[in-house]
Symmetry: C2
Subunit: 344 residues, 2 copies
C-alpha cells in the first residue's frame, strides 16, 4: 500500500500537493493534477483513513448504535439502517451499525479519538443513559426516538400519539367501542422505559378516557405463545372487546390464533390492528393483518440528514421531526380460503 509520500516522489511534487488533489482542498494545475493522479494509479494509492482521521479529526464515518439486548432486528430497524446508510453514502459518509450495551458503557472506546464523527441513537428509552454519555463525551448525535424531554435534542421519531389516535379513529369509524391493547412489558429488562411502548400506551389510555371508550391493556410474553396467552387474558378482563391493537410483531400470529381459539372470528367479531409494524410482517398472516406501517426508511434518511447537517454545519436548527405510521388495511381478496392452512 503506497503512501502519500511515495506518490509525491513518483509525481515529482510535494506531499502537500498530493494531499490537495486527493482531498480537493486547494486548486492545483490540471497538469500536476494529472501527474499526481497518474502516480496514484500506478502505485495503487489508497488514502489511509486512520492517518487522515488523526490529522484532521474527521473520519466521515458515523455510527448507528444498536443495543445488544439479544433481540433480533425488526423490519423497521432494518429500514432505519439501510436507508440511513444509503443517505450517508450519498452525502459522502459511511454508516456502520455499532452494537453497544443499553447502558452505553462501551461508548467511550467508540467515540474516543474520533473514530466516528457522530452517532445516531435508536431504541431510545425515556431516560436513556446513552444520551448523557454522548453529551459529556461531546460527540454530535441525533436520535431516532425521543427521551422523556427531548426538546433540546435533535431527533426524528414515529409520532406514536398520532398513530394511536389515527388507529382509534379508524376503528371507531368501523363501529368499535371496546378496545384492547397488547404490548410487551419491558420493566425489569435492560430496555425498561422504552419510549415507544410508553408513549403508545399512555396515549391509548388517555384516548379511552377522552373518547369515553373502554380499553384494556395486557402484556404479552415472548413469541407466538405470548400472543396466545395475551388473547386469553384479554378476553378474560374484557370478554366483549371488539378491536385490539397489538404492538409486538412476534406475538401477533399467536394473538390471532388465541382469539380464534376462543371462538372469536376475525374480523367479524374482533378487529386486529398491528401498530408500528411493517407491510411485510402483515403479509405473513393470512388474510393479511391490518397494519399501521412504520415510516422506517423516511426516518432513517431524515436521521442521517439531521446528523450530517450537524456535522457539516449545513443547518443550525434543531431537527424535531415526527411522522405517524400509516394504515395499510387488509383487503379481503376473492380467493380467500375458508379454512386454515397447516404445517406438515
Amino acid at each position: 500500500m503506497a503512501t502519500m509520500q511515495q506518490v509525491a516522489d513518483r509525481a515529482g511534487v510535494s506531499i502537500a500537493t498530493v494531499s490537495f488533489v486527493v482531498n480537493g482542498t486547494k486548486y492545483v494545475t490540471p497538469a500536476t493534477t494529472a501527474r499526481v493522479t497518474a502516480a496514484m494509479r500506478e502505485l495503487k494509492f489508497r488514502n489511509n483513513v486512520v492517518a487522515r482521521a488523526l490529522a484532521s479529526r474527521r473520519t466521515r464515518i458515523i455510527a448507528l448504535l444498536f443495543p445488544t439486548t439479544g433481540n433480533r432486528f425488526s423490519p423497521t430497524t432494518s429500514d432505519f439502517f439501510m436507508s440511513a446508510a444509503e443517505r450517508a453514502s450519498e452525502r459522502g459518509y459511511h454508516l456502520v451499525l455499532w452494537p453497544v450495551d443499553p447502558a452505553g458503557d462501551d461508548l467511550d472506546d467508540l467515540v474516543s479519538g474520533g473514530l466516528v464523527d457522530g452517532v445516531i441513537l435508536m431504541e431510545v428509552r425515556m431516560d436513556d443513559p446513552r444520551v448523557a454519555k454522548l453529551t459529556d463525551l461531546d460527540v454530535p448525535f441525533t436520535l431516532i426516538g425521543r427521551t422523556r424531554d427531548s426538546s433540546g435534542l435533535p431527533y426524528v421519531d414515529i409520532d406514536f400519539e398520532t398513530t394511536i389516535e389515527d388507529s382509534l379513529d379508524h376503528l371507531e369509524d368501523l363501529g368499535h367501542r371496546r378496545f384492547g391493547f397488547v404490548l410487551e412489558n419491558l420493566d425489569d429488562t435492560p430496555m425498561a422505559g422504552y419510549a415507544p411502548h410508553l408513549r403508545a400506551q399512555s396515549t391509548f389510555e388517555r384516548a379511552m378516557v377522552d373518547r369515553g371508550l373502554e380499553g384494556a391493556v395486557v402484556y404479552a410474553g415472548p413469541g407466538s405463545e405470548g400472543g396466545r396467552e395475551a388473547a386469553r387474558e384479554l378476553l378474560e378482563v374484557a370478554p366483549d372487546v371488539s378491536a385490539v391493537l397489538i404492538m409486538k410483531d412476534d406475538s401477533s400470529a399467536g394473538l390471532l390464533v388465541g382469539l380464534y381459539a376462543a371462538g372469536r372470528r376475525i374480523p367479524e367479531d374482533v378487529s386486529v390492528l398491528s401498530i408500528a409494524s411493517s407491510g411485510a410482517a402483515g403479509d405473513q398472516h393470512y388474510p393479511r393483518l391490518s397494519t399501521m406501517v412504520a415510516p422506517g426508511r423516511e426516518l432513517g434518511t431524515r436521521a442521517a440528514d439531521a446528523l450530517i447537517d450537524q456535522l457539516d454545519g449545513t443547518s443550525v436548527e434543531l431537527p424535531h421531526f415526527l411522522l405517524p405510521c400509516v394504515l395499510r388495511s387488509a383487503e379481503s381478496t376473492a380467493e380467500a380460503p375458508t379454512e386454515p392452512h397447516r404445517g406438515p
Copy 2:
C-alpha cells in the same frame, strides 16, 4: 479529553510508561502504576483509538460486511451479527456491521489504513468479487458461506447439502414421493450466483434423480404474492406434488395460501417445509410451519472465532466448518382452530 502526555505529566512519568500501563505491554512498578492509574482517573483519560491504530496498525475492530441490496435482515442474518458481535466482544474486539455494495467497490476505504483488522463476509456468491478484492487488499477475512471453490479459504457455512438430504429423508419417511422446491431467482440481480440457493437447488435436483423421485423447481417473485403465484405454477407443472420445500421466508405465507386456494389441505394433502429459516419465522404461521432452522448463532460465533484466531495467530489451520439446519416440525396442538383467522 486528556492525552497520554498529560497523564504522564500529572503522574510525573514519561509517556512511554503510561503507554506501558495502559496496554500492559511491560512490567511497571506497582507504585508507579498506581500513580499513573490515579492520574488517568483524575484526567478521565481515554485511549485514543485512532492514534493507537496509526501507531500500532491494529484497531481491534472487525467488520461484518453486509451487501447493500435493499434487502431487509433475515432473522438468520441478525443471528450472525448478534452472536458474532458477542463473541468478538468476549475476545476483546469490536464487531461492526458495514454496508458494502455487492461488487465490493467501497471495500478499499474501509480497509485501507487498517481501519479494521479483519472482516467477515456474508451472503457469499459462488464467484464473489469481494473475496478477490479482499485477497489483494491483503486483509484477513473469513466467510460465512462458501464460494464455488473455497478449499483455500477460511469459512463457516450452513451445510445445505445435508440440510436438503435430511429434509428429503424426513419427508420420504412421511411417505412423500413427489416434491416441489420453491426459491428465488436471483439471476439478473446483483446477488446472482448466491451460493445457498444454488447449492440447495442442485442438491435437490441430484437427490431427485438419485432417489428416483419426482421433483419440480419453481421460482417465486417477491412477497406473499410471489408465494401464491409459485403455488399456482407448481401445481400446474406438478399437480400431484405432495411435499414442497420453500427457501424464501417472505413468500411462505403466500405459498400456503396459494396451495390452500387450489384446494390442497396442509398437511393432509401437501406437506410444506421451510428451509434455512428460523423458528420465529415458522411461528408466524398458524399452525406453525415446519422449518429447517438455520444455526445462525452458532455460525456467527464460529466465524468470529475463526477470524480472531487468524488475527491473534491463535490457530493456524484453515477453518472449514459446516453445520446443517435442524428440523423443527410443527406440532399439532389440541386447541388448533378449524377455520382461518382474518385481518380486520
